[in-house]
Amino acid sequence: MTPNAGDPSVPVPGGGTVTTHTDDAAAAGWFGQDYQGPNAQQVGWIQFLAREVEKFDAGGASLGFDTSEVTLAQGQSEARKTGTPSAPHWYVDTLGGALPFYDSPATAAVNGGTVGSAGAADASAGQAAMWDAPGARPELARDAFDTWFYETDVATVTVRARFVQYMVRGPDVVMKGGMTVSWTYSGEASAAAGAADPPRTNTPAPVAAYDHIDAAHHVALVRRFPTFRYLPHD
């Protein structure tokens, strides 16, 4: 992944900066959180994911959220349910088998993944960066368009992947950021098997100093990685 020059950076308590890369320079859809500074080898990113599928009518009014979807992620054993903005279902998003950090390696071949595979990252003595480009999931949009005869016709469907990242240094949480990746399907044909994915839109949330993991994310963390319950949380 090649970052765009000039992406915004913020200072990190204790030294260094975090740069949020909304899109990589090759326009391949990758986003990233990029710490550069001292003690980078003690820094890890933990990413959480919640998915939404929202339906809209021809006038653009929301018809609600499809909360009935269950998705499986390559290399991750936990099945994920779709939710709503007020009732999201959060999951740790890592291929890691023993550790929750984004670039931790898989320790077993689960869900079509391979041992040793890990989330894309740039790691060195002065850098700890994570990169992600989640799949579009057109099958979710396809289901949303496929209304039963007594339901209101669906004109567009937006599939969103909401990500929250925490930067952890040793036992401390030091930064929090976020990124929402969305795809809007217009008409049933746009989600048909074999159709090209619609353009993805990566929308960042401001990254800022933070000293704990939010309760909903901590529940998801402990569910999959119970030994990490010690991380500060509310």
Binding site: M1, S68, V70, G75, N111, P134, R137, E139, Y150, E151
Partner: protein, 213 residues
Amino acid sequence: MTELRGRVTAADAPIPAAEVLAVAGDALAGHAETDADGRFALTVTPAPGLRLLARCRRHAAGLALAPAAEEDEVALRLEDVAPPWPVRFTVGGGLPDGFPGPVLRLVPLALGALTATDVKWAMRPVGERSDSAYLSEAMTADGLALLLQAGRWWFAARLVLASDARAAGAVDPPPLHAVAAQLADGTPLDAMRGGWVLPVGGPTAVSLTIGER
């Protein structure tokens, strides 16, 4: 306004997280969710013909229906509409190494003696939820056991393993779908809307064949 209380059960076992709808004609008067003991309370404006309908979507799946009664705790029993039966789904011929079972999606088409209008409430949007399936569950490699209310159910199954966290250079495997479905005695099920129609009137076993479409 009046408060309605009640309990949702299947074979005397409480059903938690069931969605209880107060329905007056074609209008939704209120809704609530059952607690761990299957109990609920909701406040509604009294209306003639007010009924309570419970959408049960967990291990025991189906609809329970009863007239609303202000004085007593309303008993919403799944078996009063139609009994739930054990239904087991398995993947015949196995799965590729390291792959999980597919995700199964179900929608009720007919349940006991419920009218088509009542059954439609299973999929009616409520609040911010507008679901495309009544019940979705990830199967394991060993299959999936459910309790489905007697009637007819539509179902489909697929196995899509896209990346959430993505390794550099990772390519997602092609999606797999259930391409055939049959009962334990070999009877093929009728196809419908990219899935199949499953009649449930007793213990049932369904074998799925997974492949590329």
